[in-house]
């Protein structure tokens, strides 16, 4: 079932274009991450779904209901703000039941729901505390509970993890995803952290400079990024300058490599970028039989951190990183000449 639809949405602040021609369609119950660097328009897009900004042009609908011109308080949304925006003059319980009291629910209904939500957020027994008595992590849980009190149609989170420290952040990402799957609520999270997006999302929307660059599942985006910006933003990637040498062949330095995926239409002889992921690149000593689809280089650094080994190879002035598990460890040393194998399936061609 179609959930959230964003159609031809553009937002301008004066002469500044914050969001340009965004078209997105998501299924009901999906977890969507808007991912991009700061100033790319992802928060503005979220605020337009919430109704805190009106689109200059275009339409947003949820479960078939057009939200154009619907004021914020009639949209049936739950939102968690970056600063959490908990009401300092109310207790934890009063914060959570705020929306219920606005709708005129009875005192006992409110109390039951508060207890239920606090149990769900693993925060039992704090209903009577002041907001100032809570830690950052607890505040976030209260903010989530408050947003979910009335079972909204859409759950929106604006950089929800940015106020938490690193350890807590990773635990909360998993917890939030579990909660979202349990409730089956259409959720949109704005983040600039690619790990966060990869951890939680069904669909990632990568944004840059007011535009949507790529939309897809986390693995689609990771394996076949649309351009060098997306490749650089999601995970680590090796980008080598190359020329097209036929339909599925590129020339890198002196070597010719077969490639699996080609993004866009490229003429033979055109300058392109060859993209590979570090964990799909293998390093072999020159003394071994030369592998197919390889280029030569010199090892410049080896970082062995136990679980993985990272090898930095200089290939004619370009750095290639290979991340290997100990079982693939070729036993190379710094300064040694090596062949870097890039299997055709791991090679992607992007516009230069």
């Amino acid at each position: 079932m179609t959930g959230l639809v964003i159609q031809d949405v553009t937002k301008k602040f004066g002469s500044i274009v914050a969001v340009e021609d965004v078209n997105l369609t998501f299924n009901s119950g999906e977890m969507i991450c808007f991912l991009g660097p700061s100033g790319c328009g992802k928060t503005t897009l979220l605020r337009m779904i919430a109704g805190l900004e009106e689109p200059t042009r275009g339409m947003i609908s949820i479960d078939g209901r057009d939200l154009t011109g619907v004021p914020v308080h009639k949209r049936d949304i739950g939102m968690v703000f970056q600063s959490f925006a908990l009401f300092p003059h109310l207790s934890v319980g009063e914060n959570i039941s705020y929306s219920m009291r606005i709708r005129g629910h009875s005192r006992s209904e409110c109390e039951d729901r508060v207890t239920e939500l606090l149990d769900m957020m693993h925060l039992p027994g704090v209903a009577d505390r002041r907001i100032s008595q809570l830690s950052g992590g607890q505040r976030q849980r209260v903010a989530i509970a408050r947003a979910l009190a009335l079972n909204p149609q859409v759950f929106l989170l604006d950089e929800p993890m940015s106020a938490l420290d690193a350890n807590l952040r990773e635990a909360m990402q998993i917890e939030l995803r579990k909660l979202q799957l349990e409730l089956g609520i259409t959720t949109v999270v704005v983040t600039h952290d690619q790990t966060e997006a990869m951890t939680m999302a069904d669909q990632i929307v990568v944004m840059g400079k007011a535009k949507v660059l790529q939309t897809g599942g986390p693995m689609d985006i990771y394996k076949t990024p649309a351009d060098k910006f997306v490749a650089g933003f999601i995970g680590t990637s090796n980008l080598l300058p190359a020329q097209m040498a036929g339909n599925d062949t590129v020339r890198v330095g002196g070597a010719e490599l077969k490639v699996g995926g080609v993004k866009g239409d490229h003429q033979s002889g055109e300058d392109v970028l060859l993209m590979t992921r570090p964990e799909e690149v293998f390093v072999h000593p020159v003394t071994d039989a030369p592998p197919a689809n390889a280029i030569s280089g010199t090892v410049t650094f080896v970082r062995d951190i136990g679980a993985t080994i990272e090898i930095l190879v200089d290939c004619a002035g370009n750095e290639v990183i290979s991340v290997l598990t100990p079982k693939d460890w070729p036993g190379v040393k710094v300064g040694e000449a090596v062949n870097v194998e890039m299997p055709a399936a791991a090679c992607n061609v992007l516009a230069a």
Binding site: A50, G51, L52, P71, V72, H73, K74, R75, I77, G78, M79, F81, Q82, S83, A85, L86, F87, P88, H89, L90, Y98, S99, I102, R103, R130, R146, A147, A149, L150, L156
Partner: protein, 280 residues
Amino acid sequence: MQTAPLSRYLSLVPSSVMVGVFFAIPFVMILLTSVSTPAEDVDYRYAFDLQHFERFLTWFYIERALFSAGLCALIALISLLIAFPFTYLLTTFGPRTQTSWLIYILAQLSLSEVLIAFSWQILLSRTSGIGNIIAWIGITEKSFSMSPSAGAVVAALVYLAVPFSVLLLFPALSRLDKSLLEASRTLGASPLRTFFTVVIPVTRPAIISSGVTVFVLTLGAIIVPQVLGRPEHWTLSVLITDQAIFNFNMPFASALAVVLLVLSASVIVLVTRYAGGAKS
């Protein structure tokens, strides 16, 4: 570090001397004068005589005290009703608009009470006041005078108090986290509901301190009630002036001043105790 406490006390000396000489000593003298006793050879002699306070305990003076408190409470309320929405709207504008308004309001404070009182007297007069405009529009047949009256006193004192209210409310309202208002909206509260359930409670300490300040400030006003009010609109402060300057009755003026001080102090204590810090 034995010198540290001494140097800290030393830095307190100039301000302590200032406060002592100009505030504490005169205050003690007022206290002593208020319990002095009449004498034949001099105006009065220091003693412990409560006759001036006994004189206050007549219905005339008690009624004056209650009237003063009620009048000033009303003025504080009206000032807040004008200043709060204004200041709230002001914080939604850009920094340039805010600065120019604040400078204008600060400039207002340089107008003296005397000037304001006589300007309002002209404004409310029969011959050259707004009565003429009302008559010109045709609401009344003839221009009329609106002062002296209680309304005139209230209007001029509100005029005097609003800039103070705005300046006292501005810091709290400009620091108000706008995401709280957005959060309230996303939770289903209309803008009006948000105003009453979030904006006012969150800024309550500033509202209370602004109200109390205006109350105490107008309690000390002496020109406006005399110029724009009839004797029945005179506040305690006017009576103190009357006793001190025209009747040369320093002991009774001092006793009234002590009553006024107790009145203001108890209002400050009560309001901050029961409205300011509650719910924590």
